[in-house]
Amino acid sequence: MQWSDEGLILSVRPHGETAAIVEVLTAKHGRHAGLVYGGRSRRMRPVLQTGNHVDVTWKARLADQLGHIAVELRRGYGAEAMSDAKALAGLSTITTMARLLPERDPAPNLYEITMFVLSFIDDPSVWPALYARWELSLLDELGFGLDLSQCASTGSNDNLIYVSPRSGRAVSASAGEPYRDKLLQLPSFIRDGNAAAGVTAQDLKDAFILAGHFLEARVLTPAGETLPDVRARMIELVTRGSDHLRQ
């Protein structure tokens, strides 16, 4: 068995004294692990940094074996983000959250979105909003996507500003008014799909609360897990130091 693909390094664990078990989010083969011979060598350590974009060749005798991976660097996002606390927190959050995906289950759309978010990781005015949308895509990929197309109560698609925390469906301003304290806010950049323009710090907070609620309720809590600390730290960094965003 052998295949080649591109991917994003999600984790690297030492194996023995010289090898490493590397987990990669690949474009066509999903989240996939493999053993990298010499993965702890001086030559390979810079390549095997979490968040790096790499070319991967996986080989094994049988499909269900761990197999060996040969890795070549495409772009060192890890090294690029190291000097920027926000970018590093964003990169770490993406690689941590992407581990929620099932193993060896291709998610080409999410992979494409992931690489798109990372391509803006050096621009703090853009990537936090893209990341917020990425979390909703992650929910979609996990089978728990939200229905934000029309109001759950009236069926209209006008002035959708809330989301029901139970059903994950959008609610219009008029239908949601009596329950406004119980409903989650739906930021306009999530609703309209425009992540680049006019995103306020409050919009970002609302988006993170929205995605965080459903990730916890539908994915993490049933598995006995919680949202990772690194996500909370990333949110604190991007919403606190949001001079570029309208308050």
Partner: protein, 201 residues
């Protein structure tokens, strides 16, 4: 099935030696044989040294170093620069800096780095004691000598923020071309860091 080559005591010795870094089963057998052959000059002194170390080693309550004294010999050394604290991830890093003898300061061992993957958050690291030490008016600089990895950099950013309310200057190690490094063989990340931190000659 592999045949046993000696009694259970020697087999156990081989098994335990084989768990040490750098030793496989074959090397462990060689080491055990050397110990058995040189009983008086190697085996007994080593056993005594291991017993001593196991009994007396303790973690320094001040910096997290391992020593037989608490505070450790480094913290007690009056000749060291007390205005500088060098923060390292592990004791091995402290030993590496001491071996190089490039800095005459005191240290602070964090006991690891932040790792979302392993669930290691700030509460699992020796950070509160660092903050307490940094508040000492005699301390003017904290040097973050952490790994140049994503986890090391995340830890450094966290510490910089945690120390921001204290009047100390926070510095980090330079990143770039290693001594003996040829540009042709360097990875893009190192080259990029070297270019970013270029300096006028």
């Amino acid at each position: 099935m592999a045949r046993k080559i000696a009694g259970p005591e020697i087999e156990r010795l081989i098994q335990l030696l084989g768990r040490l870094p750098g030793l496989g089963h074959r090397s462990a057998r060689k080491a055990a044989l050397a110990l058995v052959k040189r009983r008086d000059e190697l085996l007994l002194p080593l056993a005594a040294a291991l017993g001593d170390a196991a009994e007396k080693l303790r973690e320094c309550g001040n910096c997290g170093n391992i020593d037989t004294l608490d505070p450790c010999s480094i913290c007690r050394d009056e000749r060291r620069d007390r205005s500088l604290i060098v923060v390292v991830e592990e004791i091995g890093d402290l030993w590496a800096l001491e071996r190089a003898a490039v800095i005459n300061s005191r240290y602070h061992v964090l006991g690891g780095h932040l790792s979302p993957l392993d669930g290691i958050g700030p509460d699992r690291l020796n950070i509160p004691k660092l903050i307490e030490r940094a508040r000492d008016p005699i301390v003017s600089e904290v040097l973050l000598a952490l790994s140049s990895t994503v986890e090391g950099a995340s830890t450094a950013h966290y510490l910089r923020e945690a120390l921001s309310s204290i009047e100390v200057s926070v510095s980090e190690l330079a990143k770039g071309v290693p001594v003996g490094g040829e540009l042709d063989y360097l990875d893009e990340g190192t080259l990029s860091a070297a270019i970013k931190s270029r300096r006028r000659m």
